[in-house]
Subunit: 450 residues, 2 copies
């Protein structure tokens, strides 16, 4: 077989369109963000769960062949079962809760971080495989759970290191109450569907669509928009809402929940303006029934909400007659990472270890490996370069990967029992005794953090 033939037989190394490889620097940023989310979720008592990537198709899919069902990766497996890959973590949560809630008990607080798959047309920032990062409190209709959901979002963004962000809150009961008070309850679904586009298409087009598509009068549409666009502090808006909703039980109940939420926000000392009341947000039509959350970055509001959620009345109606109300939210991991990159918040190093032990004399590999182990025993990450390549090449490797400190020793140093220690940020170099290596490396790494 000729060499050309061999080459021709190679298979092209490529990923499917819409799917991604993650290089080390990207993956380290992802792991760091996921760790932060896990830490915050756990600090509120949310416990991790996982569910299979593959489920029976009937578990995941709606009855009709609607648009979203067509995006599902669905096939017949080796055992002739009709199976599908999960397209979100909510439907699996519904199935899981129906199946295990007797054992789990309520309230059941879980987080779930994992990949989901959708055969969408790939576009900038839209992928066929992406992570979801959800937390929910299942089995309680108490507003205290709604308030803590908001606190989780707050702590999450603070811990990520975002200084300027706003959580926008609304309540679907308030929206429904307002529409009912205006005699528009029958048109509510259509009105809310159009209202949901407000931030994208603007007030004039929303009014046009409400008149043209939903079929309400222009004055009614204007009145809806006036309510939805109430401006002012939460206290001011709630005061206006109180008058508008007077006598409507559902609306007043929603308003009471908002009042308790904003009172707690104030009692807990969250920064002024951190939480706003936005009567225009509805977030989808059928699912949410109470509090609604969106989160916007102060420096990049145009990318939209990076953490959204809400309260729902009945999670698992498809699987069980046990009513399971709940409330939760989901961090948009890809959107958040893109934002952090744009804001210069992601590390550029491609190594998770700050120290490189270079290899000068191949016959002394054991010494290089041993010093690395001594540093690791002190909690310091260390990579040992495995080959005695030219020291220039090894230092280039160290620079490219973003190591902070390099250790070097050749015959002279081994004879003297010393190590050369290079600080790669400032180009410093010092020769220290074997005994002092750990302390000097530690101080160089600490200095680098200041």
């Amino acid at each position: 077989m000729s060499k050309d033939n061999q080459k021709a037989q190679k298979i092209k190394p490529q990923t499917l369109r819409g799917f991604r490889d993650f290089l080390p620097d990207q993956m380290m940023a992802r792991e760091h963000l996921i760790d932060t989310a896990r830490f915050v979720y756990r600090s509120y008592g949310f416990a991790p769960i996982d569910t299979p990537a593959l489920e029976y198709a009937e578990v995941l899919l709606g009855k009709g062949g609607d648009e979203s069902d067509k995006q599902v990766f669905r096939f017949t497996d080796q055992g002739a079962r009709d199976v599908a890959m999960r397209f979100d973590l909510t439907v699996p949560l519904a199935r899981y809760s129906a199946q295990h809630i007797q054992e789990l008990g309520t309230p059941f607080r879980r987080y779930h971080i994992g990949p989901v798959w959708r055969g969408e047309r790939p576009a900038r920032g839209r992928y066929r495989e992406f992570m979801q990062c959800d937390f929910d409190t299942i089995g309680s209709d108490s507003n205290a759970a709604d308030i803590e959901t908001l606190m989780v979002i707050n702590d999450l963004f603070e811990r990520i290191g975002i200084e300027r962000f706003t959580m926008r809150v609304n309540n679907r009961m308030v929206l429904n109450g307002l529409l009912a008070k205006n005699g528009l309850e029958d048109q509510a679904p259509g009105i809310l569907r159009v209202l949901d586009k407000l931030s994208k298409i603007g007030r004039d087009k929303v009014v046009d669509e409400m008149v043209g598509k939903v079929g309400i009068r222009k004055e009614q549409a204007d009145s809806v928009l006036d309510m939805a666009q109430l401006q002012g502090s939460p206290v001011e808006i709630m005061s206006s809402l109180e008058k508008m909703l007077s006598g409507n039980d559902v609306g007043e109940a929603g308003l009471a929940n908002l009042r308790e939420l904003f009172q707690t926000v104030s009692d807990c000392g969250l920064p002024e303006g951190r939480v706003s009341l936005d009567v225009s947000i509805a977030r989808g039509l059928d699912y949410y029934t109470g509090t609604i959350y969106e989160t916007f970055l102060g420096d990049l509001p145009e990318i939209g909400s990076v953490c959204s959620g809400g309260r729902y009345d009945n999670l698992a109606a498809k699987f069980t007659s046990q009513k399971l109300p709940g409330v939760g939210a989901s961090l948009g991991l890809d959107r958040m990472l893109a934002a952090m990159e744009e804001l210069g918040m992601t590390e550029t190093a491609t190594t998770p270890a700050p120290v490189l032990v270079t290899m000068f004399e191949r016959s002394r590999a054991s010494s290089y490996i041993a010093i690395a182990r001594r540093l690791r025993a002190e909690g310091i990450g260390v990579e040992v370069f495995p080959e005695a390549k030219g020291i220039g090449k090894q230092m280039k490797y160290a620079d490219r990967k973003g190591f902070k400190v390099a250790l070097i020793a050749g015959a002279d140093e081994f004879e003297a029992g010393n190590w050369q220690i290079k600080g790669l940020a400032d180009g410093s170099q010092q020769e220290v005794t074997d005994n002092d290596v750990v302390d000097v490396v530690k101080s160089l790494l600490t200095a680098g953090k200041r």
Copy 2:
């Protein structure tokens, strides 16, 4: 529609056979083990990567329709592409390395922790979806990388908290050298295939199969078994091997690598007996070409190797003509977790937060939420019970979930500015002022750890 009809329409909440839901306690044990592996891998400079769950089938599958190909979940996607779910992390690593190695540079040290899918017949401890937990050093043929691979395994098991474990090492070049010296190089694949079963079927049956199936003489088979079953300390075995391999270049090169490995193990002060030399282990036929690793638990040797790997000559021959040698190993996550459970090493709590703030007065939700936030600011995980159910019910919830401390306050405590603090391990209860809550909770949690 009658109630019966509604019930009949429910979809049965169930997972596919061979697939698993993870309940909170199981998932916390998994996350803890994965965190430990990540910590150790990172401390050696291995960086995380990820690859898609779905790839072109031609990327993942061999040319022939052999047994393992039949287990792959493979289907035609919405775009008529022939796709498959990854069945291990090694083939994706090969594809990934071929695609990105110019950008990554060598040595390329990566870890990859993620699910893989195989349509195997489900059995006890065998699943159709399971996690792999791999680390590899790509692009170097230096034995220093082999030695560090061993050190990673050592540190991983120490950090998991396993006190008694043995790493068994061998080198395929030594095995091949021994067979060549006995004039058996042509039968090597067959002999090794049978030798691989030694621990399962015993010496007599191995000899029978070597004679009956491979077609070598009984004296030759006995001679192979005598070599493979050499007993003694690594130094003693290497001394015997030196004589046996004399003049065989490949075998002597393998032996030199083993010598350097065991010398470093000794220089680094690993406990006596931690690493043994087992000439009988071969681990599969075609893939490994140098050092081989297996790891056995001292208290559960019968479950087999829980961390295995080895050196290979050429990772990505299917995709590139660039030769990429490497060495690595893989932690058997499910097997390890089963072992830890059997050894009583896993936690039983189903909450990641140690403190429960009970809710006595619904109207004071804001106070309960605020004290929880104060504790969280000190790094303490706290769940707030969202409803003012009977305190007995809430304490039962606390016991069942494994909380360590519970806070209680009703009208009297709020008036006095106090909290009741219950230690759930020892049943203690004390009333402390609002100012002292954080310190008292901290001391209760620390005491519980002793």
